[in-house]
Subunit: 295 residues, 2 copies
């Protein structure tokens, strides 16, 4: 692993948990001299300065982009197109751009639509897979990305050197970096993240619809229920954006899940004791193997 | 709350996490003089003695039931009928009986089938809602039931005084005791526990069936996935028993869930941005309200 080259100026757009933690980790690694933040909420940006996450609040995109070595897009993924359109006129020839959006095909499409060919050479779409139960810059942590996966999805126009530079920066944050095409990323995440969120939201909605007093049901819900539904506490705006952006892959996953659930229902209707136990055992074994491989 | 009357002799059938923790809690509360264990695995029973969870291993049901004040059934719920049949001939006129099975209608049916009217007066079906990621007597803890819910489902023949005695013993373990009919218990648990388990098992099976290399998908699964699927690591035997015992209520829940999931799929197909966000918001709000009410 070659050492990452230090950045003179990093611009973080959307200084919350994801953007703030990236800034903190690069600063700790000694890889950035000056960090400029750009964001919608003056209160949050002020806190970002007070917490030492950023050095300066940019007043507008033109000023922010001036002499920027890297622009990190960490606002909600639904705003990516609008932000790219907004900053495109001010991007310098050599400014690197990367993002942290949970879907990647739509980000690539937005880049192709709004960025010049020159800027596309320097755009490396990315997705750090790091939990986000809490949000806002006050939740940012230096070690958020330590031992976490980061997936980069360079597209045809992306320059190989740009990919290498972004890879090394994430590695300096402690992350394990993988490369894959954007459509593969979106299929993988549809299966392991987007579908589970849909299933958890749906369980809460079913409880709501199944009785006039869901509280009386929930009173007896235990720790299994609490963990299963944890992701149903995620941001509705963010998950609406993700579901719409990754609609096709997610619909395929939902339909495959509907078939799988129906198969299990049939086993239960037939009271097929052996097949039920086999089904649960296979599920359990796959999960236990996965947990072992994580160590 | 009246103080619970101390037991001279408690018999625990199935000395694992659930039975062992009950024994430890009652002993700590000073409410039991002598604890006899009965179980299938000699190794586990020996550990139960070494850990001080029980005082003595019973060699047979007749000896175990002799002078027992309370028999606590804590083996897998699928064995309830067989165990009741086995111990019924040796039950004394005043021996209390309770259980910890995750389903209650089948337990009541088994009691009606195998117990004399005299014993049914002293049988109080129960279900402590306490997590069980780990199993076996070595996982037993004195405070497992502290602040946990215990549901008792007395049936027509159950004597009110027997219910009161069992209630006080659970309260002495720190539990919050509720009473409801067995069929209501089974409906509530189908919604908040049995269905989520089915959904988690099904997600793992879908991943298995969606690709030849589920590991390559799972490599990028994050903490949300880990928590969502935690209950898919539960015992296949136990969950087969629970699903079969509570088949009707569970099938109703699965079908309601299928409808709810289909409704959400339609919103996504129509790209109904507002309705998607509303749906996720309702789900999130119900969960957040529930969490607040737990404090």
């Amino acid at each position: 692993m070659t050492t990452a080259t230090a950045l003179n100026k990093l611009v973080v757009i959307g200084v919350g948990l994801i953007g703030g933690s990236f800034a903190l980790a690069l600063r700790k690694a000694g890889l950035v001299k000056h960090i400029t933040g750009l964001g919608r909420s003056p209160g949050n940006m002020q806190r970002a300065v007070e917490l030492g996450v950023i050095d300066e609040i940019a007043t507008d995109a033109a000023t922010a982009m001036h002499n920027a070595d890297l622009v990190f897009l960490a606002m909600p993924v639904g705003q990516t197109a609008a932000i790219l359109e907004h900053i495109a006129p001010y991007l310098h020839a050599n400014t690197l751009i990367t993002d942290a959006g949970s879907t990647k095909r739509d980000v690539v499409a937005a880049a192709r639509h709004y960025l010049s060919m020159q800027s596309r050479h320097h755009f490396v779409p990315g997705h750090p897979i790091a939990g986000a139960e809490h949000s806002g810059v006050q939740a940012a942590q230096t070690d958020l990305y330590n031992n976490k996966h980061v997936i980069l999805t360079p597209f045809q126009e992306t320059d190989g050197k740009a990919v290498e530079r972004i890879r090394r920066l994430w590695q300096a944050c402690g992350a394990n970096v993988s490369l894959m095409p954007a459509d593969e990323h979106d299929r993988v995440l549809a299966a392991t993240s987007h579908l589970p969120h849909i299933l958890a939201f749906t369980l809460m909605n079913q409880l709501q619809h199944s009785t006039n007093q869901p509280e009386s049901l929930l009173r007896f819900a235990g720790s299994g229920f609490r963990d299963f539904t944890r992701i149903a506490s995620s941001s509705p705006e963010m998950w609406r954006d993700i579901c719409l952006a990754n609609r096709e892959a997610l619909l395929e996953q939902i339909e495959a899940y509907q078939r799988e659930l129906n198969d299990l229902k049939v086993l239960l209707q037939k009271q097929d004791s052996d097949a039920l136990k086999q089904s649960f055992s296979r599920a359990r074994n796959l999960r236990e193997d996965w947990l072992k491989n994580q160590d």
